[in-house]
Each structure stands twice: as structure tokens, then as C-alpha cells.
Amino acid sequence: MSCNRLELSGEVVALEVLRHTPAGIPVLSLTIRHASIQIEAGMKRQAECEVPAMAMGELTKKAQTLNLGDKVKVAGFLVRKSLKNDRLVLHLNELETE
């Protein structure tokens, strides 16, 4: 199975300065704080997390209009930060402001 998709809504709590890859593709890193109620083992519970995310290419245009505190709904796939760093980063395919 090759499935890797995560949908998430939350609040933008960090926005980095726009940078470019060596080949010139724009990259914008941001952090999304998520908080919701989810069902687990048939019971309600709180789900909270801060997810590092990044937008690349065209999507950075939309991402650049974001402000801290904006509510967003995003979708994308997860990739570890680097070989040396196991932390997951959400790479965005979709970005909507609510």
C-alpha cells in the first residue's frame, strides 16, 4: 500500500521567512497547532498537537498571505525531516483558510 495522506485543521502558530531551494523553488515552513475532540476506543478524547509543515512551489503564494493566528485546513503527506532527524514534517498539497 502506498498511502500517505493527512488532513488537518488548526491555527498557524509559526511562519518562517520565504526561502528558495538552490534550483529556485520557493519554500515556506510553518507550524500548525491542532486541537480537536476525537473518538478513541469508542470514547471521546482531546487531540492536540503542533505539526511542522512546509509548502513548496505554487502553494507558497497562498501560504505567504497567511498571518499568525489564521485558521487553516490543510492536506498533505508526511516525510521525516532528514536522515538524521526522525521528526515528521507535513508537506502540503492543499491549503485553505477558514
Binding site: 531551494t21 538552490p22 534550483a23 529556485g24 523553488i25 519554500v27 512546509m54 513548496m56 512551489g57 516525510v79 521525516r80 525531516k81 532528514s82 536522515l83 538524521k84
Partner: protein, 729 residues
């Protein structure tokens, strides 16, 4: 009928016999001969009565370029030595040392030197015939009146716009064009000689006392100790003899104009020519002919000028004798310094090798008494002190884009004081590696065993070994990740970092990329001298020769790779380089400071550097070399081979090793290996090192070995070469 034995540019270790066909040929003359289906230019090296071949098999020469100066027997003797010592075909040597024009199939007489003089008409008129506002014309008129006739070069010294002015004067009939016999030295009077300090005086005296007969001197002078002044005093003494000529070798073309300017100021009346590979063919031939005819009294040039015929040569100076540029890295792999010593010996004249950090070979020779040591231990300008050298531990988490806080503070301090700083980083480009952090892929050169260097502004990757270039990858070709990381620091990245840290500072980057345009380096140096630059970022280009009076801080970034290199000469080279860079700080009355960032702040090399103690460091290194039986305690030769496929290379080197094992036991034969750069420019490479304790033993072995290698069938399938006294293994 005589047989001419001719040197041709053919990779065969032999001369070629031709019938003279009634031409009056002499040894050293150029001839045109048929060779296969081609015609080639060669030089007659011998004239004999009988060929070893059947006379019927010989062809006649097509042309003899009589009337030209012949190649002198002194030079032919030197070239013969080189052929023997470097085991390179004599014909190829002879043809490679000739200026390009002399390799062409036409008569190459001395080019006419054209000059200008006032016409008869003008001499009877007065300056007042010129319009009052024609200032340049008036200046030229006065100069011509004073000097008689002047060349374009002389006139250029009077005004940059001389050409338009002289054309106008010519049209008006005031000036006429004439042919001159020789170049006229420029008019200004010599600038005063500065007083010598004690060490300089002693050195000058010692050499001057023995200006006749061969003697090799090592002039070891710390940076800023006034070696050039010593050279000039020696030139003065040598040139006092009528018709005497001198040869001065410099390691880099960039350094020629600078030294030339200093010599010109001191010896305005001595004809001087420069010789290097970046001059036009015509200019080179003209300068060569002037040296050859004895007209030029000072010949200054890079390594190839060591082969210039100079009939009345009385003194040879080799500046920065340790410099690797003296070693030719292709064709005949000679060391111009070593050839210069042989030349001085053959000519029976003194040679002065100068350096702040002599090569260990030369130092060893001076310690053994073969070369006489002259030491300049004080700086020439009495107030100027040697800079303080401090190491900074680079293993700190506070590193800001590769710069330590201490270095950043020091830069701030100089900026505040209005003084200049130099950051030395021996890597051009933005960063040496393009890395994919997701899968550890690194951008490789497809043609070399090397990595491509990121040149960010042009969005290109370049191989600094073979010149290959490509666009920066949009994504990692291995895993698809677009977010690739330039890793490590080069000059361009440092420049960007500095611009960010010191937005008010004027930063100038000096490396091979920024100085590509002709004259760019000169312009940049003028900017620095005009104090229109605060921070210089540069590679080893900046290390040599340039004096910056207002420069008081030198920061050295990332030299650690050279501390632990597999090359046994790396430490020697690094020390020389750092000493040289350090010498850029505080050349005038302002004290300098040198900060070295390193992960090994207590390394012995830095300890010696801090004390400015070359002698102690050389002693330590020599001890190590002796223990390991490395040069100068042994003599080496390196056989290199390359081809597009590895197999024939491997077989050829293996075969060569087998032959070597079977020869004389006085020579040690290492195992065949692949060099660090196993692949270069699309060629697979391998090499074999041999060494012996005695030069003669090695030479005898090489003679035999080379003869056998040349006849190997595999030898025709690979490109191979022998490097005697290799510098890089």
C-alpha cells in the same frame, strides 16, 4: 652532402635524419621537413656525415630558415639535460620551449619596433604651432623633443590618450613614424633606493662578493623583510658589468606586472622584457628575441622563461621558490626552479632562491651546505611588527554561518576603526557540496571522482577539476526531494554571510570567478588600495605578493582538511600558505592580527606558525620525512596512466610494475594504486611510485625502465607519463 638530425614535436625519443639538399644549415636552425604526409617545423640539433639509415631512405629538408638567430648551444645543452633527467623526448622539449611563432612554418625575424619622432618640419618650428588647448599633443611634443624617438609604450606612459593625439600630429606633419633598433627604456629617473637594514645589507654583500662562478643562495626572509629590495640591489650589481643580463622567475603571471613596475621604477634605463603564457604570440616572440639578442637586460617571467636564450646571463633570481606553480603539470613535468639551478650551474653564475617558507628540498640543501643560507630576520620597515597569530576553536555551537563570535567581533572592531580585513577561504563557489538531507545523495561529477560545487547565483553546479557544468537539480535524482542543501562554505557564501552580518561594510570577493575578466584583478586591487573596500574575501589568489597597508586583520577559515591529508607535503604547503596569508596583515606601521578558525587549535603546525618559526617547523618536518624516508631523503618518480576504460590502465601499470620489480634492487617500487582522484575528466587513472635513496640510482633505473615501457604494446593503448620529482602523489 650532410645529414641533418632534426628535433621534431613527435612523442618518440629520437631525432630524425634528413638530407640537407644543398641548404646551408647550422645547428640550432629551424627547418621545415616532410614527416609522413605532413610537413613539420623542427630544429637542427646535429649535423653528421653519415646516417644510421640508408641515405636512399632519407628525405631532403624542404626549407631552412636561415637568417634567423639560431638556438644557442647553451640552451640546447640545458634542454638535453632536461631530456635526460625528465625522460622526455628531446624533440618535444625543444619544440615546446619555443615561442608559438617559431613553431610555424615561416620565417620569424625580429619584429620591427616602430616608434615616433618629430619631423624635420617640427624640429624647425616650435611647440607654439600646436593649439594651446591640445595639452596631450604638447606633452608628447615635449617628450619627443627631449628623447628623440619613442615607442608606443613610452608614449602610453605620457598619456592614456596618446594615440589620437599622435595621429593628429602625424596628419599635421609634425610627427613621423620610424623603425627603431631596440626598445627605448622609459624616461623617468630612477627612484631613490631605500636604506637597507642590517640583514639585507649582509645578504647583498655576501652575494655581491661572489658574482662570478656558480653558487646557489637561499634567501630566507620573513614576510615583509624586503626580499625584493635585495633582488634589486643584486640586479644592480650584476648589471654593472657591460652587456650583462639577468633572469628573474616569478611563480604567477599575476605577479609579473607588479614586480615589473618595481623594477621599472628602479631601473628605468635598463631594457626589460616579460615572458609568460598569456601574451600574444607576436609579443612573446619579440620579447624572446630581445632576450636572445642581448638587447633586453632584465628578463622577468614565469616558469617557461627559464628556457629563454640569454647569451650574457649573469644572475638568476627565483622568487617564492617554494611555489608549486614552478612545477609544470603536463608535457614535460619539469620544475623551473630546479632547471634554473642547473642552468646557473651550467653557465657558472650565481642563483638566488628567495622565500619566506622555502621548500623542504631547498631548506635541506641549505642545511647540508649545498646552498648558502642568507637570512632576513627583521621586517624591512622598522616599525612594522609581525602580526599576532591566534587560533580560534571552531568547535563551538555559537558558530554563525561558519564564523566564530571572536572573528565577528574582530571584524566589527576593524570596521569601526576604518581598517581593512581579509578573510581567507581556499574554496571558490558558494558551497562545495550539494546534499540531499533526505537520502544523503551528493551531486557528483560524472567525469571525475569529485563533487560538484554549487555556484548559487548562476544556479549552476560546476566541477572544479574538469570544468563540467550543469544546472542545479530541481530535485534529488535519487529520492525526488526538491529541498536540496548547499553544504559547506565557499567564497560566495562567505560573501553573502558578511553582507548579512555587516550591511554597512563594503565587501569584495576575489577569486578565480570574480577576476575572470582581463584587468579585473588590477581594478580590484586599486579599489582596495583606494580604501573603497572594508572586507576582502578571497582564495589563495590574495595570498601572494599583494601589500595592503591598511589591512590589519586576517581571518582564516577552514584549513583543517589540509592538516590530515594523505599527501605528505600537505603540512608543508599549508604552513607556507598560512605564513604567506598571515603576512598580509600589518605590513605598514599598523600592527596586524591573524585569527585562524580550526577544530584543532593546539596542532603543532599552528604552534610554529604563532611563533613565526619556519626553521623549527622545517626541522620537525624534515625529521618526519627522514623517519619515513620521504623526499628530500629519497628521490621519487611517479608513473601515471589513464584511459577511458580502466582495464588497459590497470594492465599497463601492472606490467610496468612487473618490469620494475625485475630491475635494479636499489630502487623501491610501490604497489600500483589509484590516485585520490581515481577518475578525472572522464579518464580512469592509476599510478605507480618508485623511489631511491640516491638520485643516480633512480636515474639509471628510469632510463632502463622507460626504454622498456616505450616498447610495450599496452603503452600505445593508454595515455601515460613519467613525473620525476613529483609534487603531488
Amino acid at each position: 652532402m650532410s645529414i641533418l638530425r632534426v628535433a621534431l614535436d613527435v612523442p618518440l625519443d629520437t631525432l630524425f635524419d634528413y638530407l640537407d639538399a644543398g641548404h646551408q644549415a647550422e645547428v640550432g636552425m629551424r627547418v621545415l621537413v616532410p614527416f609522413g604526409r605532413r610537413q613539420m617545423v623542427g630544429v637542427v640539433l646535429e649535423i653528421v656525415e653519415q646516417s644510421q639509415l640508408d641515405n636512399d631512405a632519407l628525405k631532403p629538408v624542404l626549407e631552412v630558415y636561415g637568417g634567423e638567430p639560431t638556438l644557442s648551444s647553451e640552451i640546447l645543452r640545458l634542454l638535453n639535460f632536461c631530456a635526460d633527467y625528465y625522460h622526455y623526448p628531446l624533440g618535444q622539449i625543444v619544440m615546446s620551449v619555443l615561442p608559438g611563432r617559431l613553431r610555424e612554418a615561416r620565417l620569424a625575424l625580429l619584429e620591427k619596433i616602430l616608434g615616433y619622432r618629430l619631423s624635420e618640419l617640427a624640429r624647425q618650428a616650435s611647440l607654439e604651432v600646436l593649439p594651446k588647448r591640445a595639452l596631450i599633443q604638447r606633452r608628447l611634443w615635449l617628450a619627443l623633443e627631449k628623447q628623440g624617438s619613442l615607442t608606443a609604450e613610452n608614449l602610453g606612459e605620457t598619456s592614456d590618450n596618446w594615440h589620437t593625439a599622435i595621429k593628429a600630429m602625424q596628419a599635421a606633419g609634425w610627427v613621423e613614424c620610424v623603425e627603431l633598433k631596440h626598445v627605448i627604456p622609459s624616461a623617468p629617473s630612477a627612484i631613490a633606493r631605500p636604506a637597507l637594514n642590517e640583514d639585507q645589507a649582509a645578504a647583498v654583500e655576501a652575494v655581491t662578493r661572489q658574482l662570478t662562478g656558480f653558487k646557489a643562495w637561499l634567501l630566507h626572509g620573513i614576510t615583509g623583510s624586503g626580499k625584493t629590495e635585495v633582488y634589486m640591489r643584486l640586479l644592480e650589481s650584476a648589471l654593472a658589468a657591460p652587456e650583462a643580463q639577468v633572469l628573474v622567475l616569478v611563480p604567477e603571471i599575476n605577479l609579473t606586472p607588479q614586480l615589473q613596475a618595481r623594477f621599472k621604477a628602479r631601473f628605468p634605463h635598463e631594457p626589460m622584457v616579460a615572458l609568460h603564457s598569456q601574451m600574444s604570440d607576436g609579443e612573446r616572440l619579440r620579447n624572446w628575441r630581445q632576450a636572445e639578442s642581448g638587447l633586453a637586460r632584465i628578463v622577468i617571467g614565469t616558469r617557461l622563461s627559464v628556457f629563454t636564450p640569454i647569451p650574457n646571463l649573469k644572475l638568476v633570481v627565483v622568487d617564492e621558490e617554494h611555489d608549486g606553480s614552478y612545477k609544470q603539470q603536463d608535457g614535460m613535468r619539469y620544475s623551473a626552479r630546479d632547471v634554473a639551478v642547473v642552468r646557473a650551474k651550467q653557465a657558472g653564475i650565481p642563483i638566488v632562491l628567495g622565500s619566506a617558507t622555502p621548500s623542504l628540498e631547498t631548506w635541506h640543501n641549505s642545511q647540508a651546505g649545498r646552498y648558502a643560507l642568507l637570512t632576513l630576520g627583521q621586517r624591512a620597515v622598522a616599525q612594522s611588527q609581525l602580526p599576532d597569530i591566534i587560533t580560534l576553536d571552531a568547535r563551538t555551537p555559537q558558530l554563525k554561518d561558519g564564523l566564530t563570535p571572536a572573528l565577528i567581533n574582530a571584524l566589527h572592531d576593524r570596521l569601526a576603526k576604518g581598517e581593512q580585513s581579509l578573510l581567507f577561504i581556499n574554496r571558490r563557489g558558494y558551497s562545495p557540496v550539494l546534499l540531499c538531507s533526505a537520502c544523503a545523495w551528493v551531486a557528483p561529477c560524472e567525469r571525475c571522482s569529485s563533487r560538484l560545487v554549487v555556484h548559487l547565483r548562476q544556479r549552476r553546479l560546476k566541477c572544479h577539476h574538469c570544468g563540467h557544468e550543469e544546472r542545479i537539480h530541481v530535485q534529488c535524482p535519487n529520492c525526488g526531494n526538491p529541498d536540496l542543501h548547499p553544504t559547506g562554505h565557499g567564497t560566495q557564501r562567505l560573501e553573502a554571510t558578511l553582507a548579512e552580518l555587516f550591511p554597512e561594510a563594503r565587501v569584495l570577493r576575489v577569486d578565480r570567478d570574480s577576476t575572470r575578466r582581463k584587468g579585473a584583478l588590477e581594478d580590484m586591487m586599486a579599489e582596495v588600495h583606494g580604501r573603497r573596500v572594508d572586507i576582502l574575501v578571497g582564495t589563495q589568489m590574495l595570498a601572494k605578493g599583494h601589500d595592503f597597508p591598511n589591512l590589519t586583520l586576517v581571518g582564516i577559515i577552514d584549513t583543517d582538511s589540509a592538516l590530515f591529508s594523505p599527501d605528505f607535503r600537505a603540512a608543508e604547503r599549508l604552513f607556507a600558505q598560512l605564513m604567506q596569508v598571515a603576512g598580509r596583515a600589518g605590513r605598514a606601521e599598523k600592527p596586524g592580527e591573524v585569527l585562524i578558525q580550526t577544530a584543532f587549535p593546539d596542532h603543532v603546525l599552528f604552534e610554529a606558525l604563532k611563533r613565526h618559526d619556519y626553521a623549527a617547523f622545517a626541522t620537525t618536518l624534515l625529521q618526519e620525512r627522514k623517519t619515513a624516508m620521504f623526499p628530500p631523503y629519497c628521490f621519487q618518480a611517479l608513473l601515471r596512466a589513464e584511459a577511458q576504460k580502466f582495464e588497459p590502465v590497470r594492465d599497463f601499470i601492472a606490467e610496468a610494475a612487473n618490469i620494475a620489480y625485475g630491475l635494479d634492487g636499489a630502487v623501491m617500487v610501490y604497489d600500483p594504486v589509484r590516485p585520490t582522484m581515481a577518475r578525472l575528466n572522464g579518464m580512469e587513472r592509476a599510478q605507480l611510485l618508485v623511489q631511491a635513496e640516491h638520485r643516480q640510482a633512480l636515474q639509471a633505473f628510469l632510463k632502463q625502465w622507460m626504454g622498456m615501457l616505450r616498447s610495450l604494446p599496452l603503452a600505445a593503448k593508454v595515455r601515460w607519463s613519467l613525473d620525476v620529482d613529483p609534487l603531488e602523489i
